[in-house]
Amino acid sequence: MAAGPTFEPIATATPSGVTTYTFSSITNAYTDLVLVGSVIMSASTVIRLRFNGSSGTYYTKYYLSDGTVSQNSSASMMELVNNDGSVFSNFYVDILDYKGTTYPTKTALCRSADQTNSWLNGGAWVSSNAINSIEIYTTNSATFSSPSRLTLYGIARA
């Protein structure tokens, strides 16, 4: 059986001067998603993610390389990485089974790095809805600067 494409860009963006970017109308043609970002901001901020515009229940646990271990069972989003405007912060997020409606949990695994720390972050979004949009946003008025890049890839289990 011929394998299908397994790592395809669904959409890419170079946000600048905005606090939020949303990948919307995400196709259901894949089994998993990968979100890749390399961003530099206008000021210090935390970069966050949420699905379908939902501020519902996210279970997250992350380790920082300063020794911090944080767990939040009632978060309204998932934190990805910090940025202070001096470096490119990079993040790579696996989003597994994004269409799953039988089991109401979508799992995200993030590996990222900023000017100070590395992050190892696991998150789960509890919803029976398929993910059809992903919002990446900041916690204050800091905006994306050029040449920040965000790309969403589709993974097909051939």
Binding site: E8, P9, S38, S65, Q115, N117, S118, P147
Partner: protein, 174 residues
């Protein structure tokens, strides 16, 4: 269909061990780089963390910064914290010649940009003789320059031994 995840180059240690090699002339035709390595070293102890990635042949180690956390069997509930500044940008996981290969993944975003340094996250694991560990870290390149070469080094007099493999991939946005 767009090809977005492409092998740029690979290196396999065969025969004599080596302490260093370089991915040179990295093309600028991608948006990001991913480096995967599966390595062992001739280190005689349980494990060490002396793999080093040098950007653009820049050897002034004080220019590099980074920090990583790791745990092992004696610290199963905690991540140990180490700052790699100013000695090196660490990448390694345990390497011991009589045991398993250690595997490590790195993401180097926006590698063509010269407007700001890129901070590279990495993640790896190993199963040395009397231990097991995972490691995650960040490494900031020395200067804000487009990356055209990556040199991997085993420090402290150690070498990568035969069978160690290194793969450099290019990732496109479209």
């Amino acid at each position: 269909m767009a090809v977005t995840y492409t092998l740029i180059a690979s290196y396999t240690v065969s025969g004599s061990s080596t302490s260093t090699f370089t991915f040179s002339s990295i093309p600028s035709s991608y948006d990001h780089l991913i480096l995967n390595m599966s390595s062992r070293a001739n280190y005689s102890g349980d494990y060490h963390l002396n793999n080093f990635v040098q950007v653009n042949s820049q050897s002034t180690v004080s220019n590099y910064t980074g920090r990583f956390g790791y745990n092992d069997t004696s610290n199963t509930n905690n991540f140990l914290v180490q700052s790699s500044s100013p000695t090196a940008i660490w990448i390694g996981t345990g390497n011991i010649s009589t045991d398993f290969f250690s595997n490590n993944w790195s993401f180097i975003g926006n590698y063509n940009s010269s407007s700001a340094p890129s901070v590279r996250p990495y993640f790896g694991g190993s199963e040395p003789a009397s231990n097991s560990l995972i490691i995650f870290g960040s490494a900031r390149q020395g200067t804000a320059a487009a990356i055209t070469s990556l040199t991997l080094k085993e420090l402290s007099g150690n070498n990568y031994i035969a069978g160690s493999t290194f793969y450099l991939y290019g990732l496109k946005n479209s």
